[in-house]
């Protein structure tokens, strides 16, 4: 649905994006994750045609955004980091303007009412946007992005500045929208991305440093799995028993009866370890995944840029 191919963008002598490539399939919610200034907004601005890439192409449903901007833009609903709201208009008038601007063919009144119901702003439809709270403004921006039912939604940090309840509401909304739309969602908040997205593309200093399913991200970063174990028994026996299991790469002793086992990615060594230790007469008191948390993965990948 969205194909970003070898996109490079320079601002003067600064390379904001450096050969970025990724795809988002139909119905997928992709999280664009990275620290501030990593290039998330630039990527989104290029996907939506607000900026042009110096090199590379962006295809929306097979349509090049630069070659056929009108057709490509008609497929996109975009919520920038600061929602582009005309604060002198009422919510309804603003949505009517965006409806006309996007040349939507659906029945105007009904469609706007439907979108306002989805994002829960029907109660403020006749209020002037200037007088709305940040949360409502964000939702009005989201409503504008949803007008015309575009197959692709690009949401740039949609939860910034919202209170916890509003954040949860917006997350739920995005999750439900993900069933019908392809969504690219940017954030620098890890818990948010892991809660909402199927896949994470991590950007740092204008480069993609990881691209994996949300639950596989840490494994893909470290290239191996980690298990934390607490086992009773002689250290040498335990080491020997665990080491004999296929797939185990390294066993290291931690404090007390604790051990850390590193194993090859994609192999499940838990049963093997259980059987081997049972055979050796060493009871397992605790076994849990020691894989990097999303936070640890993020820090590991971005620590160069964060310094």
């Amino acid at each position: 649905m969205i194909e970003v191919q070898h996109v490079t963008k320079r601002y003067g002598s600064v390379k904001a994006l450096d050969d970025i490539s990724f795809t988002a399939d139909s119905g997928e919610v992709v999280g664009l994750l990275g620290p501030n200034g990593a290039g998330k907004s630039t990527t989104m601005n290029i996907i939506t045609g607000y900026l042009s890439a110096g090199e590379g192409t962006v295809l929306i449903d097979g349509v090049d955004i630069l070659e056929h901007p009108k057709q490509a833009k008609a497929k996109i609903g975009y919520l920038p980091e600061i929602p582009p709201l005309y604060v002198d208009m009422t919510v309804r008038r603003y949505l009517e303007f965006i409806f006309d601007l996007k040349k939507v063919k659906l029945p105007k009144k009904e469609h706007i009412a439907e979108v306002m119901t989805i994002v829960k702003i029907s109660d403020v439809e006749s209020r002037v946007i200037r007088n709305l709270s940040k949360g409502y403004r964000q939702r009005v921006g989201l409503a504008a992005a949803l007008l015309g039912n575009p197959p692709v939604l690009i949401l740039d940090e949609p939860t910034v500045g919202l209170d916890p309840k509003q954040i949860i509401d917006i997350r739920k909304l995005i999750k439900s929208l993900g069933k019908k739309h392809t969504i690219i969602f940017s954030s620098h908040v890890l818990s948010e991305v892991s809660a909402v997205c199927d896949r994470i593309v991590m950007i740092n200093n204008g480069r993609i440093v990881a691209d994996a399913a949300t639950d596989k991200l840490s494994e893909s970063i470290s290239g191996e799995g980690i298990l934390a174990l607490e086992v009773e028994g002689a250290v040498s026996t335990v080491r020997e028993a665990i080491g004999s299991v296929d797939g185990v790469k390294r066993v290291s002793k931690a404090a007390g009866n604790n051990y850390t086992v590193e194993y090859e990615s994609g192999v499940d060594v838990r049963r093997g370890i259980f059987n081997a230790l049972a055979k050796a007469g060493c009871p397992i008191l605790m076994m849990r995944s020691g894989n990097l948390t999303l936070e640890e993965s993020f820090l590991k990948l971005t620590e160069g840029g964060a310094d």
Partner: protein, 234 residues
């Protein structure tokens, strides 16, 4: 494009700008009409139009100052530039929005002409050609000032530069008399708004003058589009 025109017009009247522009325009045109027509017992409105030129030069920057600069500052241009509309449609929509407000200003002359009917017979042909001249010249100024507005994020800077350019355009014909270089003074005379407008006020619809004002509109709207195009690439 229709949506952008509507939005522009509503923005003028959602804020005080639309009302202030109309009020100032109507006040001064009414004042000049009273002075040069009613008090002088003449049915010719030529002096009214000539006196209003200065007011037009000052009012158009107020109409256009926020057109693009405010959009850029508030980042609302993202809504326009990521919508399925071309840059030309955006620029034309902005231009026509401002132009319609300017037309509303000029509509007051029709009322003055009707008032004159009670006292005498206005020369309708001259009045029509003068109005056409006012609209063409105003359109050209709007296009120039829109281009200036597209270059900056600050309404104030846009307004000040536009007023400066407007005054320069207003004075350019008088400058030609001070120059001894013939080709330069010819050139300035040929690009002088005043010289072209004089044709209209004399009841002459000179095709050169019409083409001149239309060309200025075309060139500056094209430059506006290029400014946006450049911004996307920079």
């Amino acid at each position: 494009m229709g949506a952008i025109i509507k939005r522009e017009l509503s923005s003028y009247f959602n804020s005080a700008i639309g009302y202030i522009v109309l009020a100032v325009f109507y006040f001064f045109s009414g004042l000049f009409f009273y002075m040069y027509c009613l008090l002088s017992n003449t049915a010719s409105m030529n002096y009214v139009f000539l006196s209003m030129l200065m007011i037009v030069m000052l009012i158009i920057p107020i109409i256009t100052m926020r057109s693009f600069s405010e959009e850029k500052k508030q980042k609302t241009d993202q809504a326009l530039l990521t919508a399925p509309v071309s840059l030309t449609e955006i620029v034309l929509g902005k231009f026509l929005g401002a132009f319609i407000l300017y037309c509303l200003c000029n509509a007051i002359y029709l009322l003055y002409a009707i008032i004159l009917l009670f006292y005498g017979t206005p020369d309708w042909a001259v009045l029509c050609s003068t109005l056409l001249g006012m609209l063409l010249m105003g359109g050209a100024l709007i296009a120039i000032d829109l281009f200036i507005s597209a270059l900056t994020e600050s309404q104030v800077i846009a307004a000040v530069i536009s007023i400066g350019v407007g005054l320069l355009i207003y004075m350019i014909d008088s400058l030609t008399g001070m120059l001894n270089v013939e080709w330069l003074s010819n050139l300035l005379h040929n690009i002088s708004f005043d010289a072209h407008f004089t044709n209209f006020i004399n009841g002459i619809i000179n095709i050169t003058s019409v083409v001149f004002f239309l060309s200025v509109i075309g060139i500056f709207l094209f430059l506006c589009v290029r400014v946006f195009e450049k911004r996307r690439w920079s």
